[in-house]
């Protein structure tokens, strides 16, 4: 991203929650910010990297990004790290010790929960980490709050020497609303002060820090009781009051403008007294929170009579059309019908791989090889599970394709004895968590063929840079990992390492077919850039000669979205078998000339496109 001039103070700017946090991080005088990209958190660091006077990095995974932020905070500077919900699973090892040492300079961890699963393998509530690690949690409800809470989080972090979790959800990260911005204030830390009893967490030292953590919990709860981030709006309709946090607050206000509401912006530790105040004010209290009943459970444990997930869903996003019927039912009122028209039935439009994606050839080839059990991974590779390839059998978590493949190999039953195990992983994913799995596979003498699809980018999140493409977050040159040497260093035999061009289908097919027969760990590296990054260069596009197309449909099986069916038909073969025909055309305006559809085209009907000039069109009597 190109550097931009930060908007002047007091500007009224339309910002996403991610952009608002980035702005606040910069204004707070943060020196170090680190992250691994992940929807819906990615833009926070992308935007931070456009601000001057701080250091930003793409780390190889979330644990490392937190460690980098910890180091900076120990050194007395303000630091920031962000991740999506599943990223905290990776970073949690560092978090659980960080809570004991605490910080010197402020450290804010923004965690973006993909509520509603827009692009994740699970839905999890990151507020649990606040309880688990005994650290405070802030929950903004819109961009302005995300901005303000980030700044307040740094103050709280330093006051209690504790990291602060800023819990966001997709509807904060990716909603744009107005923010009034301020100025950057430099923060000058005292530098690193040696204090081994605090920073060296051997059992003897750590044991002494634990009571301090519990003492801090009590102080933090008292702080939450008086925090301006937790406030009651008295309302006029006392039949039902609401305790709510995060964007759920907006849905409550929208649905019940006259109801009493306690909004918890500083929601962990829960301010019990504030909650009692609201309970005393109304007939019934409903807890409205996304996703899990955390606040609800804590309040019930306190003996407070509250209602929550008995009437509200345990999954997905809340909205007025979820809240209104639930509360109407609670009050014994007629349940409003929210939909004026029943949704019409339209075909599904699942995401698919891009035109000319280098992975198309890999999945097409895998779909042609028989007797494979394929262990897949996170990222664009997951799309290989879709049509027409159906070439993924598992997908668990980032980097897990390696370990899962080894397990499928070692745990194979009689039914799978003739099957070959293949693992598919991307470059960034491999560097994030795959390397250790491959090492384990080699060390434990697995029989797996690994396809390492190096497209030189974190493709799914928008093509961010990583050590595999030799560029840093600023686009500057950086040493580039040599994957062949890397896997060799992990113990894969030289003769079992192949680097192939995924656009050369016959070579790819032969390499895969040969390697799955070998009783050893093989690594096949495909090395062609993602079509969405600047390393990709378009070639001359192709078109279909209509008269030559026999309707065999081989090209459709590649799965390139540039190929369209013009008409369908049927043909009876000499043996009496009836086959379906599909005649095609290529959308030449988007075709990049990758040749993946040309190679399986038996009649040679696909040739380079000859654009027709407007003059020729006029001569032919056509209109453009």
């Amino acid at each position: 991203m190109a550097a931009v001039m930060p908007a002047p103070a007091a500007s009224r700017v339309l910002m996403s929650g991610n952009e608002a946090v980035a702005r606040a991080v910069w204004e707070s005088g943060v020196k170090v910010a680190a992250a691994y990209p992940g929807t819906p958190s990615t833009e926070m660091l992308e935007v931070i990297s456009t601000y001057p006077d701080l250091y930003a990095e793409w780390s190889v995974n979330e644990k490392v990004s937190l460690e980098v932020a910890i180091g900076a905070a120990y050194a007395g500077s303000r630091s920031f790290c962000c991740m999506k919900h599943v990223g905290m699973n990776v970073a949690s090892d560092a978090l659980m010790t960080l809570t004991l040492t605490g910080v010197v300079g402020g450290l804010v961890i923004a965690i973006a929960d993909d509520v509603g699963l827009s692009s994740s393998q699970n839905e999890q509530d990151s507020r649990y980490w606040g309880r688990f690690a005994h650290v405070p949690v802030f929950e903004p409800a819109d961009s302005q709050e995300a901005y303000e809470m980030t700044k307040l989080a740094y103050e709280l972090s330093e006051k209690f020497q504790v990291p602060v979790i800023l819990r966001m959800t997709t509807r904060i990260n990716h909603v744009k609303s107005l923010v009034v911005v301020g100025e950057r204030v430099e923060f000058n830390g005292a530098g690193f002060k040696k204090e081994p009893s605090r920073f060296v967490m051997v059992p003897g030292n750590a044991g002494k820090r634990i009571p301090l953590m519990f003492k801090r919990d009590i102080e933090l709860r008292a702080e939450a009781e008086k925090s301006a981030l937790n406030f009651i709006e008295p309302g006029s309709d006392k039949r039902v009051g609401f305790i709510t946090s995060g964007p759920a607050y907006m849905h409550v206000k929208e649905s019940f403008p006259n109801a009493p509401v306690l909004k918890l912006g500083f929601s962990c530790p829960v301010p019990f007294e504030k909650c009692r105040e609201l309970v005393a004010l109304v007939d019934q209290v409903v807890i409205v929170e996304e996703v899990e009943p955390l606040i609800e459970t804590e309040l019930k444990a306190q003996g407070l009579k509250v209602i929550g997930k008995e009437i509200l869903p345990l999954q997905g996003e809340l909205s007025p059309n979820v809240l209104k019927p639930a509360i109407a039912k609670l009050l014994g009122e007629p349940v409003p019908v929210m939909d004026s028209v029943v949704p019409m039935k339209v075909f599904p439009r699942p995401p698919t791989m891009c035109v000319a994606c280098p992975h198309l050839g890999v999945y097409y080839t895998l779909s042609q090889v028989r007797n494979l059990n394929i262990s897949g991974d996170i990222g664009c590779y997951t799309l290989g599970a879709g049509h027409p390839w159906n070439a993924l059998d598992t997908c668990v978590s980032m980097g897990a394709s390696m370990g899962v493949a080894l397990g499928m190999d070692k745990g194979r039953g009689e039914a799978d004895k003739d099957k070959r195990v293949v693992a598919v992983i991307g470059d960034s994913t491999f560097l994030h968590m795959g390397m250790q799995g491959l090492l384990d596979m080699v060390y434990n003498k697995g029989n797996v063929t690994v396809l390492l699809l190096d497209n030189r980018a974190v493709g799914m999140t928008g093509g961010q840079d990583n050590p595999g493409n030799g560029r840093d977050i600023y686009g500057d040159d950086s040493p580039r990992v040599d994957f062949a040497k890397l896997v060799s260093a992990l113990g894969v035999k030289e003769e079992r390492i192949h680097v192939v061009n995924p656009y050369e289908l016959p070579v790819l097919f032969k390499t895969i077919r040969d390697e799955v027969k070998v009783q050893d760990v093989s690594v096949i590296i495909t090395d062609q850039p993602c079509v969405l990054i600047k390393d990709y260069h378009k070639l001359k596009p192709f078109e279909v000669i209509e008269d030559k197309c026999t309707g065999c449909g081989n090209c459709i099986d590649v799965g390139c979205p540039a190929i369209h069916v013009t008409r369908r038909g049927k043909e009876v073969k000499p043996n009496g078998r009836e086959v379906d025909l599909a005649f095609v055309r290529i959308e030449s305006s988007v075709c990049t000339g990758c040749t993946l559809c040309v190679q399986p085209c038996a009649p040679g009907a696909i040739v380079h496109y000859a654009p027709v000039s407007p003059i020729q069109l006029v001569k032919k009597g056509c209109s453009a």
């Binding site: 009224r12 339309l14 929807t39 699963l117 827009s118 692009s119 819109d142 509807r171 990716h174 909603v175 744009k176 609303s177 107005l178 964007p247 907006m250 849905h251 206000k253 929208e254 403008p257 996003e317 909205s319 007025p320 059309n321 929210m338 939909d339 004026s340 028209v341 029943v342 949704p343 019409m344 339209v346 075909f347 599904p348 439009r349 699942p350 995401p351 698919t352 791989m353 891009c354 664009c380 799309l383 049509h387 027409p388 799914m460 928008g462 969405l532 459709i556 799965g559 979205p561 190929i563 369209h564 069916v565 369908r568 379906d580 599909a582 305006s589 453009a624």
Partner: protein, 203 residues
């Protein structure tokens, strides 16, 4: 709440749905409104469904449009305009591009593309104005002008004048040269005229 204006922009990844919605939001803000914009676009760049919500007014709370409350549905693609009809309020209007973008699952023969999305939408009883935005963009020389054509199409269906919206569109291209500014102005006006003509034909 009813005092907010709700605009739903729908299409598929890569068509510029999110950018168009953002420009609409900027226009609303320029006129002093509060505004919120959000979308469901998990894997937008990969040909999936994109629906972008814009709400503006004195004070906006929830960023999402409740089904059955959208004032205008701006459809960048025919089947997508059909898919989101349930979001419209009674008496709401659909402005749709007649272009059809057929996804791979249909090419593979797994599902059917509706024969006549426009007729299906009419069956719902909602007002719909259809025009070929993609062809207009192509005639101007670049398919990427499609989202400016669509913005021109909605220009006369907003609670504010078209000028502010046009200004916001052109501001985006100022740094890219006068030629692009002019092309986008033409695209905007062409979209506006196309909808005007189509509406006049409906009567």
């Amino acid at each position: 709440m009813s005092e907010n204006t709700n605009i739903l922009v729908v299409g598929i990844g890569g068509q510029g749905v999110m950018t168009a919605t953002e420009i609409l939001a900027e226009a609303a803000i320029a006129l002093g409104h509060d505004a919120k914009k959000t979308e469901v676009a998990g894997m937008a760049q990969r040909g999936g469904v994109v629906s972008s919500h814009l709400r503006f007014g004195k004070k906006v709370l929830s960023p999402q449009i409740t089904p059955g409350t959208a004032d205008v549905l701006l459809g960048f693609e025919s089947a997508e305009a059909m898919r989101w009809q349930h979001m419209l309020k009674p008496g709401g209007i659909t402005l749709m591009n007649t272009a059809k973008l057929v996804p791979p699952v249909v090419e593979l023969g797994l599902f059917d593309y509706p024969d006549d999305p426009l007729a299906e939408i009419r069956k719902c009883g909602n007002k719909v104005v259809a025009f070929d935005a993609t062809s207009i963009a192509q005639e101007l020389g670049d398919i990427r002008l499609g989202n400016t054509v669509m913005l021109g199409a909605i220009a006369d269906h907003l609670p504010f004048g078209a000028e502010t919206l046009l200004d916001c569109v052109l501001k985006r291209f100022q740094r890219k040269g006068e030629k692009l500014v002019e092309l986008n102005r033409q695209a905007f006006e062409a979209g506006r005229a196309a909808v005007g003509a189509a509406e006049a034909a409906i009567g």
